[in-house]
């Protein structure tokens, strides 16, 4: 294991671990609340945010944070007010924010290698500063999840009932969107804009196949995500493949194995057979 002596690999592993945990935790809410498409939309919107960063010379993480929060809230507001359906709102922002990014890049002189890294992820190019940002924002997200654990669970399961009980369901929904947006942004450097929604959705979806309680789904989701990120990193090193893609394909493999072998699946078969 002499590869562990390389600084880039150490950084990649720490970043992969942190992002795996984060994506799995937020992914549980995304999967159960049906926010997968919104998550993918926010991820693609970050391209526009990153491009603004490149155009203005500000660290793209911060421009992407502001941009993605704005897009997440806009999607939420548009669909909440009943103007358009949620998937329509996502569809509009999905393409237009990418278009904005492409336009900005076209205006910039020359081709930007770094931007390519944001699109497809380059876990091996994670800087020390990136690591600190991931750590700080990630711990912030986890702290909010712990603090509002029961409230987020309630609005995810049954928002209407939560509101009747007196919880601020609307505000909690926007809190959830914000946490998803932040998770997406700090993950894009590692797995890439195009692939981040897979890491958000797939480990949680795999865990969903096995779980009978919320906490076990979260724990198992984290486990699957860590196997994907850490395992994917080593695999990509040995096979000399793109790290983001390797991570995502590994998690997809876990998902399909879960879908085929989980007891939920077997039970469904049994009940069909007996009825």
């Amino acid at each position: 294991m002499e590869i562990l002596n390389y600084t880039f690999m150490q950084r990649a592993l720490v970043a992969g671990t942190l992002i795996g945990v984060l994506c799995a935790v937020m992914g549980v809410y995304v999967v159960l609340r049906g926010l997968s498409f919104i998550g993918a939309g926010i991820a693609h919107a970050s391209f526009g945010g990153v491009a603004i960063g490149f155009a203005t010379g500000v660290n793209p993480v911060w421009t992407a944070v502001i941009f993605c929060l704005g897009v997440g809230w806009s999607i939420g507001l548009l669909s909440r007010k009943g103007r358009v359906k949620e998937d329509t709102a996502v569809g509009i922002f999905f393409a237009s924010t990418m278009a904005l990014g492409i336009l900005l890049i076209g205006l910039m002189k020359g081709y930007n290698q770094d931007l390519f890294g944001y699109l497809f992820g380059s876990i091996l190019a994670v800087t020390r500063q990136d690591l600190w940002i991931i750590l700080a924002v990630g711990l912030g997200i986890l702290a909010v999840v712990v603090l509002f654990f029961k409230e987020l669970l309630f609005v995810t399961f049954d928002p209407e009932m939560a509101q009747v009980g007196g919880l601020p369901a609307e505000k909690l929904y926007f809190l959830l969107l914000s946490l998803v947006a932040l998770t997406v942004v700090i993950s894009i450097k590692v797995v890439g804009i195009v692939l981040v929604s897979a890491l958000l959705i797939t480990p949680a979806a795999a865990a969903h196949q096995w779980s009978e309680s919320f906490r076990s789904m979260m724990a198992l989701g984290i486990f699957f995500a860590l196997v994907s990120t850490v395992g994917g990193l080593f695999l990509s090193y040995w096979l000399d493949t793109a790290s983001g893609a390797t991570i995502v394909l590994l998690s997809t493999l876990i998902f399909f194995a879960s879908a085929v072998f989980s007891p939920r699946r077997r039970r469904r078969k049994v009940s069909v057979a007996s009825s």
């Binding site: 049954d158 009980g165 076990s216 789904m217």
Partner: protein
Amino acid sequence: MVKKTEDYIIEMENVSFSFGNLPVLDRVFFQVRRGEFLGLLGPNGSGKTTLIKCILGLVRPDEGTVRIFGKAPWDLNDDRHRIGYVPQLISVDLTFPLRAKEAVLMGRYARIGMLRRPKGSDREAARIAMERVGIADLADRPLARLSGGQRQRVFLARALANEPEILFLDEPTTSVDPTTTESFYELLGGLHREGMTIILVSHDVGVVASHVDGVACLNRGLVGHGRPEEVLGSEEMARMYGCDAVVFHHGRLPHIVVKRNDHGDS
């Protein structure tokens, strides 16, 4: 202790509501007395769920006033804990990984307050609620492995865990077999005798009629409400809103006249 104005636990005056340009509620006047067991009847799409949501403050009427416990529904604050709500089952994700006792404990969440963890007393309230509805032995069962009737009891227990004074149930026995339905209504009858105010939404008059002690019929506007023998006596009335039963109210014992014209739907 109980204020005079609270004899009416719910008051709706001249309430109108539309989804876009689809009128759903049209000048509804409606009162519910403390301790009443009311069946809210009407065909599918007649606005029953919307009416309940107006009372609960989930939708705001375009016109008119709604009061519950003498207050506007969006201004209830701590009085929210006095409300129990069992929503229509279709609104719930049955693959959600949740054990019965966890779902029931959610009934306490709002009362516990933000940033606090459930205490022993909350778990105890959840346990008592589960015992009350007869699902104590299913506490560790995930929702996905409960039958329709068991699940409905979980949601009733969730509402009861909050120790409410008024219960709203929206079509609680759809997709539940007749025997289970019967015992579910007996359970509600028991709660009612202990003083619970209950508003039961259904499009199935025949089943509801033998358990409630009053009915209101809705078809956008309120077609009839109050002492059933005054309101529901005429046949045109019954035909107008599609109800095929009429409830008479003599003292404590409701008498039912059911017109059987077998639609085939239960």
